[in-house]
Amino acid sequence: MAMLLKTQALTIRFGGLVAIDNLDIHTRRGEVLGLIGPNGSGKTTFLNLITGIYPPTKGNILFQGENIVGIPPFQIVRKGIARTFQNNRLFSNLSVLDNVIIGMHHRQRSQWYHAIFNNRFARKELRDAAEQAMELLEYFSRELVEDRYKKAIELPQAHRRKLEICRALAADPQLLLLDEPAAGMDPEETLQLMDDIFKILERKPDIGIIIIEHDMLVIQKIADRVVVINYGQKIAEGSYTDICEIPEVLEAYLGETEC
């Protein structure tokens, strides 16, 4: 299948610290790539580089063949990369529905002067957005539909995660980046989450997903391929069963997981 994202010798230095060191990672359409590594190994930094929050010190990020280094975050979303955050970053005091509608921001066209004149097109656009948002919420969870006029901050943790995924999907991305979606969830909620990820793939079979996760069960179940990084370097790559037998991985993870 077609190559979606490819990084070449991606490197970022924070002062003397090399957080990401010559990293070559690629992912294809329809593939779930698991990104694992001990704490502080540079996983979240990698996502921040792809989404343009940090500019890399050197290296290239090719997305659908185009180098996206130096493009600001809001334009990267337009190119088709959406993400969730390690600690939810929802719009806390806005309703569930509004959160999803904001996810569609880059697909909307109405301008500020349309608001002043109460333009019909702008009103219709907002109404349509609300409809699409409802449809998206409905696909993932009935509870979120019922809570659509609740503030995001009033939701239980598991629902907030789900809402964040919905907001990212509302941008209609080609590549979805999930940063520790199962953190802080109980086993049942984790199962539910995996179910949701399969639902994403069902809905958009050609989407690429990169998932950072500490819960090995999740990685084992949903990742087609796993990349292990430590100190910003790739130390292993392959299927879950393959990487479990590599001594460096076991060493890096010693005490954290029993592969």
Partner: protein, 384 residues
Amino acid sequence: MNMQKHHQTKAMAILFLVEIFILVGIILFLKTEGITGTILFIIGIGGCWYIFDRFENLQNYLTSLFQGERRFAIILGLILLISLPFFLRSNPYLIHLCMISGIYVMLATGLNYQLGSTNIVNLATAASYGVGAYTSALLSVHLGISFWLVIFAAGAVAAFMGFLLGLPTTKTKDYYLTLVTIAFGLIVYILLNNLSWTGGPNGIGDIPPPSILGFSFRDEIVLFGLRLPFQANYYYMVLSFVLIYTLISQRFSFSRTGLTWNAIREDEIAAKCSGIHVSRYKILSFCINCFLDGVTGAVYAHYVCFISPENFQFMLSVMVVTMVILGGMDNTFGVIFGAILLTLLPEKFRIFAEFRLLFFGIIIIATLVFRPQGLFPQKLRKYT
């Protein structure tokens, strides 16, 4: 069918009573003199607010009544607002107070786009207001251009200034941005005081009053056989501006732009990662706020007919910020309430005029500690 008719009549009756109650309250409050009366009034307003805030059912009931009989409620409200000067015609000072309240409502609804919607603490309201006032005064005094054209020029110049002020937002945020706005406000104040063509500390006098078809706003107006003091002209003009500002504010808050501003307020990083061009929307909020301030400044300049830098000091910016914080972030009616209340209270407590700044300081601290969302919090958007 009959039941429906009955419900409708009941709704109208209740709305009628509520609006009359508010109008009578305003008139009595304006006419109160002395400290005891004013304090009693504050307790009364506080009580009404408490009941309204405490009982969510009452809130929902009133909102549904209003939405059901929207046209009736708005027309009745308009009639009452138009009739206000007739009750106060024996005392022009009270009409002047209403007019000044209107000016502050205009400034506060303008600032709400920044402070309430986007969480940009802009302490340069006095600057944009002053730039608008001076632009309009200079154009009409030296070039003799009509007031009705000059207000747009004032808005445009202020908006351009807002654009310049907004440029640093691409680099700075939060407190640093606030510091930039404070510095900007001071620069404008110093410039107005020291430039020769702004008249320096003497300001600009003899600004011609607006006129429509030869009728000058400085003349007394006769309506329905009753003679009203000239302040009433300005009251009606400011009332129409307030209505336009309110309408625009309502429309913005229920639009893609308003939603985007809210997203930036809630979480800038998440907003960026949702495809929002944060700097662009911040600069936009600066431009819109400053445009509205500029227009307000022009209206004010043509009311007092004499302006000097003293009218556009830092204190004014602090007052407008307090109004928005107390009234309610991004709730248009809350902001209007805050602006009216905080214009009238200092007037009623004139003998404590030196403590004005202290008073506003206490209100800001108390609101932020006990009720950070303001007296009337933002309502969630409902989509049908």
